[in-house]
Amino acid sequence: MKKKIAAVFIVVCMCIGMSACADSPEKNSDASSTEESSGDRETEAADGKYKIGFSQCVMNHPFRIAMVDSFKEVVGDYDDIESVVVEGNGDVQTEITNIESLIQQNCDAIVVSSLSGTSIYPAYKEVHDAGIPLIIAASGCATEEEDAYNFYDSFVSTDEVEMGIAAAQCANDLLEGKGNVVMIRGVVESTNSMNRYVGWNQEIPNYPGIKVIAEQSAEWLRLTANEVMANILQANDDIDLVYCENDEMALGALEAIRDADREDEMVIVSMDGQQDACEEIQNGGAFKVTITNNSDMKEAVSAAYAMAQGDSIDKRIILPYEIVTEDNVKDYIDKNY
């Protein structure tokens, strides 16, 4: 009977035993609780090549995929950088495991783009404890007073709160200060939806004429947005502007508006600057403005490269966002697509 316990204990002890005797490479010291001072790591990597890891939170959205492609492309230009990309599936536990595996692979710098807000901070702490520079790209990050603030070394992203504010300003310009707005949000619990929402709510109060008459979530999906918009059109007769938190949902809403042939009554403002959204703006329908989130990883990679070589980078590198409207949509498309 006792032999039955052996079956599991062999395996569990083997794991712990191996880890104890395995010669833990000097770079990642035992993750004991003593604070590892981060600054004084040696700079050059073993074979002169720097290894930069990139952990992407989820791979099912065009913007996220564009980030990974541009990361690989930009790294290609540097001849002494070796890139490691790990992909999550939206679950924060998987993301933490991925970041830990980057730490195991002795990366010289780690770039993280996460959707999971505060739940990801322990992984940031581990990267910090391991003395590896951490760059956060295009995702929520800790504000000053949170203790997670000193875990990361640089935040390279468009500031989504700013984008929310910009969206509110565009809405105000299009409506000349007065009108009914329908807001279609993404997955409410994801950080970039939360930040854009915070930005929008900061700005809207100072335009008293604008009234948000409906606010629904469509989980970033075009199909859901299509149905939600169709219902909203049923319930509200005079809609002047539809604000969507990403292009996918905006295009879905547009489809519903065209079905109800009320395209001339309202205009659409959205974010992300996807190709088909820009084309929609070009042929001048209800789709008026999209605020581009910057999926270009050039700054992030250069920041990581610099950090890997030991020189310091300032804490916040805010990438400019572009407001694409009818007039500048032409050259935006030529530049990006």
Binding site: V8, C15, S32, T97, Q104, L115, S190, E219
Partner: protein, 336 residues
């Protein structure tokens, strides 16, 4: 005296399933370092065990429910509601002791609702727990409005549960081993474990032999929610803040991973078959894969494909055993 190879023969014959899974795990442990030189480092193994801890504890809870022939889809949402409640209570200045006790009571409440609806209400376990999952997920999203709640005044003693170490072993791993030992002891040595096996195998016969079938069934659901609460506490204690999970976006939820771990461990959904060691090994197998894939850079969708195929193989192996038993029984029934 019973000779040596007699007991050995019985040991192998009894735990065919567990041994085949253990061999699979050992093979993986041998192959992995070849695939990626970073696998065998101490920090990685400990992280692997830490990540497995959450799923393993929830899977042990799920094992109890599957053993009596039921199923519990609501553990994912239980973990969420436990996390949320604990952060809110800590923010309101309750001491850690009170928080943990009231959290465990909350999960016992959820388990009781599941158990009573299935046993007394005589409803399908699948429907009951699916509904409870939706209701609890709705409650979480409505109270938090989707935003994460960061813990302002989280006492260090609470954080230690999630982030602390004893020697080099993270506390969640130790809690996982503790839960496993308790569960193993209950199933092997306690009457309660024996009653679970018996109720899962044949409810009417158990009733005729003087087993309080209703209480056993309800207690199994309570235990399952309790384990989910422990797992939830560990997860939220790690971050000190609660973030409503975005797993809705297609990653198979915690409950599916737990069910997969139990079934890979040799249990069948019909009940009465399967052991705690099997579940533990199933969870370990899942953990090793989840750790190995990013190291060798496998895309997250290829991971899901491989995990699905491994579940199929494990299920077919375990079906072969119970199938032979069921087959023989059918033939005998037709004979009489």
């Amino acid at each position: 005296m019973k000779n040596k190879n007699e007991t050995r023969k019985i040991f192998f014959q009894e735990n065919k399933n567990e041994i085949s899974i253990a061999i699979l795990v050992v093979i993986l442990l041998i192959v992995s370092p070849m695939l990626s030189e970073f696998f065998l480092s101490s920090a990685n193994i400990l992280n692997l065990l830490r990540q497995t801890a959450y799923t393993a504890i929830a899977a042990i809870g799920m094992y109890f429910v599957i053993l009596i022939g039921g199923i519990d889809l609501s553990i994912g949402s239980t973990i969420q509601i436990v996390g949320m409640a604990s952060i809110i209570m800590l923010n309101h200045g309750y001491s850690m002791g009170i928080t943990i006790v009231s959290i465990l009571l909350l999960s016992v409440g959820c388990g009781l609702i599941n158990g009573i609806l299935v046993t007394i209400g005589k409803l399908q376990p699948f429907v009951v727990t699916l509904v409870m999952k939706e209701i609890m997920a709705g409650i979480v999203l409505i109270t938090t409005g989707g935003a994460s709640i960061s813990g302002q005044s989280i006492p260090d003693s609470f954080m230690v549960i999630g982030t602390g170490y004893i020697g080099i072993v993270p506390i969640p791993v130790i809690i996982m081993i503790l839960v496993f030992i308790i569960a193993f002891f209950v199933m092997k040595k306690m009457i309660y474990g024996r009653l679970l096996f018996v109720c899962g195998s044949n409810r009417r016969a158990a009733y005729n032999s003087g087993v309080n079938v209703c209480m056993i069934q309800i207690s199994a659901y309570v235990l399952c929610s309790l384990c989910a609460a422990v797992s939830g506490l560990l997860i939220v204690a790690r971050t000190g803040a609660f973030q409503p999970s975005t797993t809705g976006q297609g990653a198979t939820g915690m409950e599916m991973n737990a069910i997969a771990a139990v079934v890979i461990g040799g249990a069948t959904l019909a009940g009465g078959v399967g052991t705690v060691t099997g579940t533990m090994l199933g969870a370990l197998l899942y953990g090793i894969l989840a750790n190995l894939f990013p190291l060798i850079g496998v895309s997250s969708y290829l991971q899901q494909l491989i995990q699905g195929l491994i579940i199929l193989v494990a299920v077919i192996i375990s079906v072969k055993d119970s199938q032979s038993i069921v087959q023989k029984m059918k033939v005998r029934l037709r004979k009489l």
